[in-house]
């Protein structure tokens, strides 16, 4: 429901409303979604099931009664639905509660004209350290996320969850802002006079070389590998959460409780290559270190160097738009190295001098403008 529609109907977020039409009615809470048309509300189908096991039974409301079968097809739009507010409120379980980027330059966007002109952002100044940086003798893993390609589908989030045995914590814990996703997609709305633009940005551990999380850990439970990975040693972690506080990207996740893994059958779904973490330890994205090691072993067994693109992280593998590129930054020919040298490449929060392994390619937005008379095609991204 759009903000305007909500104010017209006199409802607030989380307020339960009754949608009814010709004898069918359901009660569901309101979620305000900028960018939604003011004249319609959207309801997700597929909820309100009665026999779906411990996790899914009775969750949400069944919207299928509103679906009509017209002219041989299902009609998923229902007209003349009335909205009655009720006095019940529920707290929605959302993974992101603040929707505005507060004008911060987190997601770079360029107009087509800017992109064509080639002048995208200020060349960053050379940043100085007060010490000599460490070098990475063999590999230096890096990732580039193309914001132009990303469609915000969340496939990466799910595949990461499956790959890395990330616990599903349930609604209550999400309401307490304790979801465990290692990868997430940040979404910001920009309210503009002519409507709302939505920007999103996949975010995961950026594997900073000057990692602010590492230096503060008292027990060396998070240190840097010789391949540029920011490693988390689960069995050394005592859970001070200092690292998470000091992470500017807030990508570290803490095991607040002992999340259950007692169901023997369900445990068969766990990835045997990845540890299951216990209560009280910190966890986070590893750039799928198990896959990196597997790739290295394969290459070594075959007595050859690792090929670019051979190692794929789970998120990269499942990205339908190929927005995620992963590879070795030590290899100047790898696609990740090449992307790093394109003009659109930028480092998030560069002013902190963290030297991340994860960088982004800025988004070019074509708002129907044309450049030089003809829409330009085929320019290299």
């Amino acid at each position: 429901m759009s903000p305007n529609a909500a104010s017209k109907a006199g409802v607030a977020e989380g307020q339960v409303v009754r949608l009814s039409k010709a004898g069918v009615s359901i009660e569901i809470p309101v979620l305000i979604q900028p960018g939604q048309s003011d004249d319609c509300v959207a309801v997700a189908l597929g909820y309100g099931r009665t026999k779906a096991g411990r996790v899914a039974s009775g969750v949400g409301a069944n919207a299928y009664p509103f679906v009509e079968f017209v002219d041989g097809t299902f009609r998923y739009e229902a007209e003349d639905v009335s909205i009655e507010p009720t006095s019940t409120f529920v707290e929605l379980a959302k993974t992101q509660v603040h929707q505005s980027a507060e004008g911060r330059p987190l997601i770079m966007e360029y107009s087509l004209a800017e992109f064509v002109s080639g002048h995208l952002h200020e060349e960053s100044e050379k940043q100085v350290d007060l010490w000599k940086p460490h070098d990475f003798p063999e590999h230096k893993w890096g990732m580039v996320v193309d914001l132009n390609a990303c469609v915000g589908c969340n496939a990466c989030v799910l595949s990461c969850q499956a790959e890395n045995n990330i616990p599903v914590v349930g609604k209550d814990e999400v309401r307490r802002r304790r979801e465990m996703h290692w990868m997430r997609i940040d979404r910001y709305y920009d309210e503009k006079p002519d409507g709302v633009t939505t920007r999103f940005q996949p975010m995961t551990c950026a594997q900073c070389d000057n990692a602010s999380c590492e230096t503060v850990c008292p027990v060396l439970a998070t240190v840097h590998s010789s391949e540029g990975l920011n490693m988390q040693v689960y069995n050394r972690c005592v859970g001070t959460r200092y690292c998470a506080n000091n992470c500017p990207f807030k990508v570290r996740r803490f095991n607040w409780f002992l999340y259950p893994h007692e169901d023997a059958v369900a445990n068969l779904a766990l990835n045997p290559d990845v540890t299951v973490r216990t209560r009280g330890v910190m966890e986070k994205c590893t750039f799928c270190v198990q896959r990196i090691e597997e790739g290295k072993i394969h290459a070594r067994n075959e007595g050859r160097p690792i090929k670019d693109g051979e190692i794929k992280t789970a998120c990269q593998q499942s990205c339908p738009a190929n927005a995620i590129t992963f590879g070795d930054l030590k290899d100047p020919e790898s696609s990740v190295s090449k992307l790093r040298h394109t003009k659109r490449n930028y480092v998030l929060l560069e002013e902190l001098n963290l030297r991340q392994g994860l960088t982004y390619l800025g988004k070019v937005r074509n708002d129907g403008e044309t450049v030089g008379g003809e829409p330009k095609n085929g320019s290299s991204l």
């Binding site: 350290d129 010490w131 000599k132 940086p133 460490h134 900073c208 070389d209 000057n210 990692a211 602010s212 999380c213 590492e214 230096t215 850990c217 060396l220 240190v223 840097h224 590998s225 010789s226 030297r355």
Partner: protein, 181 residues
């Protein structure tokens, strides 16, 4: 001054009790200047200037504290540099293995810890303060009595002169004993 302590056990002594620090200080000064050997004085609280009155040199504990502190400082440097840069060098947040400025806090703390604990340990040892201690405790010394103890061992000890002196400064009580344990 340390040398006199072991002989305490066998010394025959004369003790005079006073009820204020001024008399005690004056008699201590006079007794010393008149050639008496002062075993010790006992007071309920430390008296400023008493060391000068009985002719005690400044304690060298300050130097012990300094040496102990230096020891703490060196151990802290060795511990941190060795573990972080030699025994187990790890890349922590890109910082150098030997991040010396960041080792300063622990260096300081260990300096203070060593210095404080060792000097207080030495104090307890030198004064033989420990839980099973069986020292001679004069009555009222922890309340409001000020006591001068003169050594009698010495052949030159003049009992009469001592008695005159005690009287001059209004000794409340005078007692003698043989063993000073």
């Amino acid at each position: 001054m340390r040398a006199t302590e072991p002989s305490e056990k066998t010394v025959r002594y004369a003790a005079a009790f006073f009820d204020n620090e001024h008399d005690l200080m004056a008699i201590a000064a006079e007794a010393r200047l008149r050639g008496f050997e002062i075993q010790d004085v006992f007071t309920p609280y430390p008296i400023h200037g008493m060391d000068r009155a009985v002719g005690l040199k400044r304690s060298r504990l300050g130097w012990i504290a300094f040496v102990a502190g230096a020891l703490g400082l060196i151990s802290a440097i060795l511990l941190q540099v060795w573990t972080s840069a030699y025994d187990w060098p790890l890349n922590v947040g890109g910082k150098p293995f030997n991040s010396f400025p960041l080792f300063v806090p622990v260096m300081f703390e260990l300096t203070v810890l060593f210095s404080g604990l060792i000097s207080i340990g030495v104090l307890f040892m030198m004064n033989r303060l420990w839980i099973m201690s069986k020292k001679k405790i004069f009555e009222g010394v922890t309340d409001d009595r000020f006591i001068l103890v003169l050594k009698q061992e010495d052949a030159s000890f003049d009992t009469e002169k001592a008695a005159r002196l005690f009287k001059k400064y209004n000794a409340i009580k005078v007692m003698e004993g043989d063993k000073f344990v």
